[in-house]
């Protein structure tokens, strides 16, 4: 059985060929696009840039960062994902990432939930890290450290 030459099959093949090219073009461009932000446009055609960074001996691993906030009454509280109505990944990558980058606008978006639930505002946030050090023999603990502090200012609407 070879390639069917009848006109209807020809039309079908042409339509399917466009479908194939459409899928290949989208996945191909996602594959060769290195920018993570494009994912929201391409999904479900995504690239796979996980675990791409090189790490070296002596580097600090920081899986257990905590975020401590200073409130406008000068008290300090540790902020958990539930305090902001987030799940683990949103807290870690979304809120945690925004704090590490010092992105005020993004941080305030996440803190709106806290203000709504508790009526309080944070004046500053500090990321405290409990790192481990990578050695040839495995993991070695390291003393805790503050790795970022962000002073927060608000507009009237916030």
């Amino acid at each position: 059985m070879g390639i069917d030459r009848n006109p209807q099959a020809k039309v079908q093949r042409t339509v399917v060929s466009f479908i194939i090219l459409f899928y290949l073009a989208l996945q191909g461009s996602a594959t060769f696009t290195m920018n993570w932000r494009f994912i929201s446009y391409y999904f479900p055609f995504v690239n796979y840039p996980m675990y791409t960074a090189t790490h070296y001996e002596g580097e600090h691993v920081r899986p257990g960062n905590i975020i401590v906030g200073r409130l406008d009454d000068n008290s300090e509280v540790e902020i958990h994902e539930k305090d902001l109505g987030l799940n683990y990944w949103q807290f870690r990558w979304g809120f945690g990432g925004a704090v590490l980058r010092g992105n005020q606008g993004e941080i305030v978006k996440y803190l709106l939930y806290y203000k709504g639930a508790n009526g309080k505002r944070f004046t500053s946030l500090t990321v405290k890290s409990f790192p481990a050090i990578v050695t040839r023999e495995g993991m070695r603990p390291s003393p805790p450290e503050d790795i970022r502090t962000v002073q927060l200012t608000y507009t009237d609407r916030e």
Binding site: F43, Y51, Y110
Partner: protein, 449 residues
């Protein structure tokens, strides 16, 4: 040969429909189980959490905007809407799995899965594992994935058998279509592009230095501490082993494209891939079950079944189990058509008892033709005979796709309660099925015994 001919030969060469159907069952079966299990026990909690989050955190993916476009560009689905979509998706998945209105079911299933997943990913929490399954389902929805191994196909064959009033020769392993190849090849291409993406990303960001052993130690320790995965932290001690594993990972991801050029290399790449993803799951807690499930597209199922079929036939010295059926009874023809549908290994011979009676009467000593018409008789190659419930149980043994049913036929007391149930069904079978004409009325053959 022109470029068009090369293209057509590559994508549209007639290929077995069984391969595509098995891929459909694997993909839909997995995704359905994933939806039922993962959503009920995990994702619905996540979705409920999302429903309480402010609009400022809702950033719908483009595909979700497209799917909800009729409701306005700023539409945000409520929890109730998501739940309704979920149950419609489950229903469509069941249709796709059993092959009832297959393409319609697949379109609805693929769209529903895409909606649910893209909604979950519209709150800044994004993962990778699920995307490839969304693409694969949408490709299957556009293909003749339900042309065999489906209720749609079985119904077509039953209708034809009824119209012709005879049992037709067919074997679904031999059914081919020029449109059965492209969906499988396209999913293969997508998987290859994904691994290539992982390889290119590492090379672009880090180059060969990525394979220094410390990188994987770092990853294992970081993810191990985060997820409390002690196995990951334990593995993080073995620097040299991890360096070797990193080299293997790079080789695997960087050369996976070879399966498209030399399909036989799947024998090497698929076990490596299964080991790679299993290792990731055990030591890094990263579940990529979807990818492993979709490896089904690299398996030449038809050839595998045909190879096993030849092997089994040689083992059985080419002797078949013979079923005696009433060739004048449409219901019997219908039953034989159903059995033949699953007789992939060609292990059964179907004989019209009215034609065969003179030659088998002696072998069935003490049995009348009317007995044979009353219940099913099966002649085994070594000379023994099974009838009724035990005949049916024997037949199932030779039809691997129906082996799951054997569990019920071997339950405790099945031998005691099975025969009366079988006899009841057999003696009342004419009442269970409405006929257009009088052909269902069993003719009296008592004078021929």
């Amino acid at each position: 040969m022109s470029a068009r001919e090369v293209w057509n030969n590559y994508w549209f060469n007639p290929a077995p429909l069984l391969n595509l159907a098995i891929c459909r069952i694997a993909a839909v079966g997995f995704q359905l189980a994933f939806l039922l299990w993962n959503f009920q026990y995990s994702n619905f909690t996540v979705i409920k959490g999302f429903s309480e989050q402010p609009d400022t955190l809702y950033s719908p993916l483009l595909v979700l905007r497209f799917l909800t476009f009729p409701f306005g560009s700023h539409y945000r689905p409520t929890l109730e809407v998501v739940e309704v979509v979920y149950w419609i998706t489950i229903f469509a998945g069941v249709l796709s799995l059993i092959g009832l209105m297959t393409n319609l079911g697949l379109v609805a299933f693929a769209a529903g899965c895409l909606f649910l997943q893209s909604f979950i990913y519209s709150f800044g929490d994004f993962h990778h594992a699920e995307a490839v399954m969304m693409i694969a389902l949408s490709i299957l929805a556009l293909s003749p994935a339900g042309a065999v191994l489906s209720i749609d196909d079985l119904r077509r064959r039953l209708l034809r058998a009824r119209q012709r009033s005879q049992l037709e020769e067919f074997n679904i392993l031999e059914e081919k279509s020029p449109f059965a190849r492209w969906p499988i090849l396209l999913i293969q291409w997508i998987i290859v592009l994904l691994y290539t993406s992982a390889f290119i990303s590492k090379m672009f960001h880090s180059g060969m230095g990525w394979m220094n052993g410390y990188t994987l130690q770092y990853i294992l320790i970081e993810d191990g501490l985060r997820d409390q995965n002690h196995l990951g932290i334990w593995l993080g001690q073995f620097h040299t082993l991890l360096q070797i594993l990193q080299i293997i990972v790079m080789l695997f991801q960087g050369t996976f494209f070879l399966v498209l050029i030399f399909p036989w290399t799947a024998v090497l790449f698929l076990p490596m891939g299964v080991a790679f993803h299993t290792g990731n799951y055990v030591f890094l807690s990263t579940p990529f079950y979807q990818w492993v499930t979709l490896y089904a597209v690299f398996v030449p199922w038809t050839q595998a079944v045909q190879f096993l079929s030849r092997f089994r036939r040689v083992q059985a010295a080419q002797k078949k189990v013979e079923i005696l059926y009433d060739g004048q009874c449409p219901l019997c023809i219908r039953s034989m058509t159903q059995l033949r549908y699953f007789d992939w290994f060609n292990r059964l011979a179907y004989s019209d008892v009215l034609k065969r009676w003179p030659s088998v009467a002696e072998r069935l000593h003490g049995t009348t033709l009317d007995d044979c018409l009353r219940e099913m008789y099966v002649l085994l190659p070594e000379g023994s005979v099974r009838k009724g419930f035990f005949a049916f149980r024997e037949i199932l043994r030779h039809l691997p796709p129906l082996w799951p049913l054997l569990v019920f036929f071997h339950l405790p007391y099945a031998s005691r309660f099975g025969p009366p149930i079988y006899n009841f069904v057999a003696s009342n079978r004419f009442r269970f099925k409405k006929c257009d004409d009088d052909t269902c009325a069993r003719p009296d053959h008592s004078n021929r015994t």
